[in-house]
């Protein structure tokens, strides 16, 4: 009898918990599409559909872009009006076409932060969104094109991105950089670039705990994107107090490709405090 009474009591308690869980807003991310990227040529409707599946799947966009208020609900809002308002805004200094604007939002989310959606305490200067082309999201160029096509279509525009031909599964080759290290291929991720130029040997990056160079945490907020690029390309321009000039290599302008410089800069921009 006690067995039954206790079991009934347990069931009722559990039903109360599960009932409450079912009362809350229900959001589910979709399983990512099986394919890493299209392996053959696609037409635009298929490419848009692929972008939609990435949006709720591998892109993990719906984890935040939903009706819970964490990030703008792209699927519900008037995207077209929002895009046009943004591009017409004189305070917005980014690219002036929709495709580039969306691409910028994907790879440099902090370039423009929608008011009210910045990181707490950043006064909407820093986005909590990770760059979509880096881990953990780690979309490749074709996948980002597909998401751009999906969002352009969603906003009522004719998609402007180029359709994949089926040959883009590998990243496009970097133009050969005029470097002393001619043999090394250009890095495709920030981590590779940091490894390639041994930044972590002196700075505390990627868990190296090195302290020969200054601590770079929060450098994005202090120097901004342009300031970081200057600090890499002309490190003696401004020396952090307590450090000596001429320790950091002066020839990164000749060594790095433009994309590598961008990768490292983006990475440093997103380094937390």
């Amino acid at each position: 009898m006690t067995f039954l009474r206790v079991m009934v009591f347990s069931v009722l308690t559990l039903l109360a918990f599960t009932g409450f869980a079912n009362l809350l807003p229900q959001v589910q991310s979709d399983a990512p599409s099986d394919e890493e990227a299209p392996t053959g040529a696609m037409d635009m409707p298929a490419f848009i559909a692929y972008g939609e599946s990435l949006f709720s799947g591998a892109g993990t966009c719906t984890l935040c872009h939903n009706d819970l208020g964490r990030a703008p609900d792209l699927l519900q809002m008037d995207l077209r009006a929002d895009f046009e308002e943004r591009l017409a805004d004189p305070k917005y200094g980014g690219p002036k076409d929709i495709e580039s604007y969306i691409r910028e939002s994907l790879v440099m989310p902090s370039a423009y932060v929608v008011p009210g959606f910045g990181k707490k305490g950043s006064n909407d200067t820093e986005s909590p969104m990770p760059a979509a082309n880096k881990p953990p999201i780690d979309l490749n160029d074709v996948q980002m094109d597909a998401i751009i096509a999906f969002l352009e279509d969603l906003a009522g525009y004719e998609p402007t991105v180029a359709l994949p031909s089926g040959e883009e599964t590998a990243p496009p080759p970097e133009p050969p950089a005029a470097t002393a290290d001619q043999g090394a291929p250009a890095a495709t991720t920030a981590e590779e670039a940091i490894d390639k130029y041994f930044c972590a040997a002196c700075h505390d990056l990627l868990g190296s705990e090195a302290d020969l160079g200054p601590d770079l945490r929060g450098i994005g907020a202090r120097l901004g994107e342009g300031g970081i690029m200057v600090a890499i390309l002309d490190p003696n321009a401004e020396i952090t107090e307590g450090y000596e000039p001429d320790i950091m290599p002066q020839d990164f302008a000749q060594q790095m490709s433009a994309s590598e410089l961008k990768l490292i800069t983006d990475y440093l921009m997103n380094l937390p405090e």
């Binding site: 006690t2 067995f3 009474r5 206790v6 079991m7 009591f9 347990s10 069931v11 308690t13 559990l14 039903l15 918990f17 599960t18 409450f20 869980a21 079912n22 809350l24 807003p25 229900q26 959001v27 589910q28 991310s29 399983a31 990512p32 099986d34 799947g57 993990t60 984890l63 939903n66 009706d67 819970l68 208020g69 964490r70 990181k119 707490k120 305490g121 909590p128 990770p130 881990p135 953990p136 999201i137 991720t189 981590e191 590779e192 490894d195 390639k196 041994f198 972590a200 040997a201 002196c202 990627l206 868990g207 020969l212 307590g242 450090y243 000596e244 320790i247 997103n270 937390p272 405090e273």
Partner: protein, 592 residues
């Protein structure tokens, strides 16, 4: 100053000289990583489909069940040995008997733990062979160490339990406790090893971040960034959980027993178990806070997924569960005041404590942003309520949880005091000191909470530290002062067994809510990896690599919890059956 500059120059010069070496070493490592086999990247077709079974649900159910049982089986020996030690120091045989009874329940659950653990391993190898292959590649011989530890755990557990009566007195008792110490050491090591695998999947280390190739030692993979925070969190949670389950056992036996002597024993056991559960529970929010801070530090995206994305709502359910646990534990403690004659004198304070616990619970459960219709947003002027919205952020939550913990401790203290009448001169001064400690501590907790509102985010986190210190100071300080003021106190008669049935159901809420809460937190921790088996290293391309809705997760957790509770109640029933002896019919005939 000049001397410092010279030193700095020497250090820099040395650094500059070493730089080429460092650079070469880094280059060699990168080259070596490029030649090693990368982490597997299975496609959808590589995941075995077996008889239409949902691989994730099978693995989820078995993993969670194994965790419930293992947490219980590892935790009970921890406080069994503490209780046994207490019995040895005080000379009170009741402690020793109770510790023995704790172990009796563990024995019944141990074989089930191993059975479910074996089934889990089998399911993982069947459904996720590539992942398991990769983990074996990372952890290599550690798997064999785990197996050896498991064997050692079994041996020490059986010896510890079965030698209880043979090694009961004198020096032999110390030998017995040494075996118990060995058992706990092996048990904790087992848990730490299993934690290493779970945290490696969240914050991998010892591997190349581009290819996933294993570049480091097993130790590097083991001491990944989240390992120690999870170790501490699970250690404390296991104690709280084990206490709650044993409390459930005591409540069950109390309800089932008719004999007043046995009822009194189980009432005492229930009180002690509740004490253990709350003792483990008190520091748990702080350990959880550390774990979450480390998650943020490791990957901001992972932190945002937890606290800012769809999983954020799960922390509202967590608040409901913890509120339920707090209310049930306090209700049980208040009911306990009727065990002593002096207890009634403290009854008048109960309503105030309840207001604080309930108020804290309501603050904790208040979300920051609300899900509203456009009309409602227009009416409110935003997604946050003007008055209630501020209660949704961390300073309010931290203040609420600290006050709830302080007042739960007060409930304990009231019962402790009701069973002793102070006689020494320090009693009144001590009482004044304790009141001052509470008042100053509470002002500090509320003050730091208010400061949290007016300071930038970076200091908000810092504001929670004085709150925690205040809470711990109140608890530790009040215990120490009470020890002095109750020295030589006249003990009051405690009528163990003088409890309502309702209070026992309150005690039974604890294991149910704890189990569900553990299931929920397991779901959150696992979901943080989103669609990665090993975060940013090995993608999860299985058809179920998505985060289910809160409702689906809640239903799954409920089913798993229900099965677990049914097993536990069955174990309790078996345990009672084991002590029930049929009356000898021939004896009855003779009497008749």
């Amino acid at each position: 100053m000049r001397h410092q500059r010279s030193l700095a120059f020497v250090a820099l010069a040395a650094g500059a000289m070493l730089l080429p070496e460092i650079v070469r070493a880094a280059g060699d490592m990168a080259e070596a990583a490029a030649n090693l086999p990368p982490a597997p990247q299975p496609s959808r077709a590589d995941y075995p489909q077996i008889g239409g079974l949902s691989a994730r649900t099978v693995a989820w159910g078995l993993a969670q069940m194994h965790l419930f049982l293992a947490a219980f089986v590892l935790a009970v020996p921890l406080f069994a040995i503490a209780t046994e030690f207490m019995g040895q120091v005080t000379g009170d045989r009741r402690f020793d008997d109770m510790a023995h009874e704790f172990m009796k329940i563990t024995m019944a659950a141990y074989s089930l733990t191993a059975l479910v653990g074996g089934s889990l391993a089998l399911a993982l190898f069947l459904f996720y062979p590539q992942l398991m292959g990769y983990l074996l590649q990372v952890f290599r011989g550690q798997v064999l160490i785990y197996a050896a530890l498991f064997l050692l755990e079994s041996v020490t557990l059986y010896i510890y339990y079965y030698s209880w009566d043979a090694l009961r007195y004198g020096n032999r008792k110390w030998v017995h406790m040494s075996i118990g110490l060995g058992l706990n050491t092996v048990g904790l090591t087992l848990m730490f090893v299993a934690n290493a695998w779970a945290t490696f999947m969240m914050s991998p280390a010892g591997v190349d971040f581009t290819t996933g190739a294993v570049t480091g030692s097993v130790w590097e993979a083991t001491r990944n960034p989240l390992w120690n925070p999870l170790n501490l969190h699970r250690f404390l949670a296991n104690i709280a959980y084990g206490g709650a389950i044993v409390g459930g056992y005591a409540a069950y036996m109390f309800l089932a027993e008719k004999d007043p002597v046995k009822k009194a024993h189980y009432d005492w056991m229930g009180y002690t178990s509740n004490f253990i559960a709350i003792l483990g529970f008190l520091p748990l929010p702080f350990a959880g806070y550390w774990l979450m801070a480390e998650i943020y530090a490791y990957s901001q995206q992972m932190g945002i997924t937890a606290m800012g994305g769809i999983l954020a709502w799960l922390f509202i359910i967590q608040a409901v569960l913890i509120g339920t646990i707090m209310l049930a534990a306090n209700y049980y403690l208040w009911s306990g005041l009727m065990r002593t004659e002096r207890g009634a004198a403290y009854g008048k304070y109960v309503k105030y404590i309840m207001v604080v616990i309930l108020g804290g619970f309501l603050v904790w459960v208040t979300p920051h942003s609300l899900i509203l219709t456009p009309q409602e947003i227009q009416y409110l002027g935003g997604t946050q309520h003007k008055l209630l919205g501020p209660l949704g952020i961390m300073p309010a939550k931290n203040t609420a949880v600290n006050l709830m913990l302080v007042f739960t401790f007060l409930s304990f203290q009231m019962f402790y005091r009701s069973s002793r009448k102070p006689t020494n001169k320090f009693a009144d001064i001590g009482n004044g000191l304790i009141i001052a400690l509470y008042v100053i501590g509470i002002i500090n907790i509320v003050g730091a909470g208010i400061y949290g509102y007016i300071t930038p985010t970076v200091y908000k986190v810092g504001a929670s530290v004085p709150q925690v210190i205040s809470t711990l100071t109140i608890i530790v300080g009040a215990v120490i002062i009470d020890l002095f003021r109750l020295r030589g106190a006249e003990p009051e008669k405690v009528h163990w067994g003088r409890m309502t049935e309702r209070s026992q159901y309150a005690l039974f809420v604890l294991p149910v809510a704890f189990t569900w809460l553990m299931g929920l937190m397991g779901y959150i921790r696992s979901s943080l990896r989103t669609n990665w088996h090993v975060y940013t290293i090995m993608k999860d391309n299985s058809p179920e690599a998505y985060i289910p809705t809160i409702g689906q997760a809640g239903n799954t957790i409920t089913v798993i919890t229900l099965v677990f509770m049914a097993i536990m109640v069955f174990v309790f029933w078996l345990s009672r059956l084991g002590t029930t002896r049929q009356k000898d019919p021939s004896v009855r005939e003779t009497i008749g």
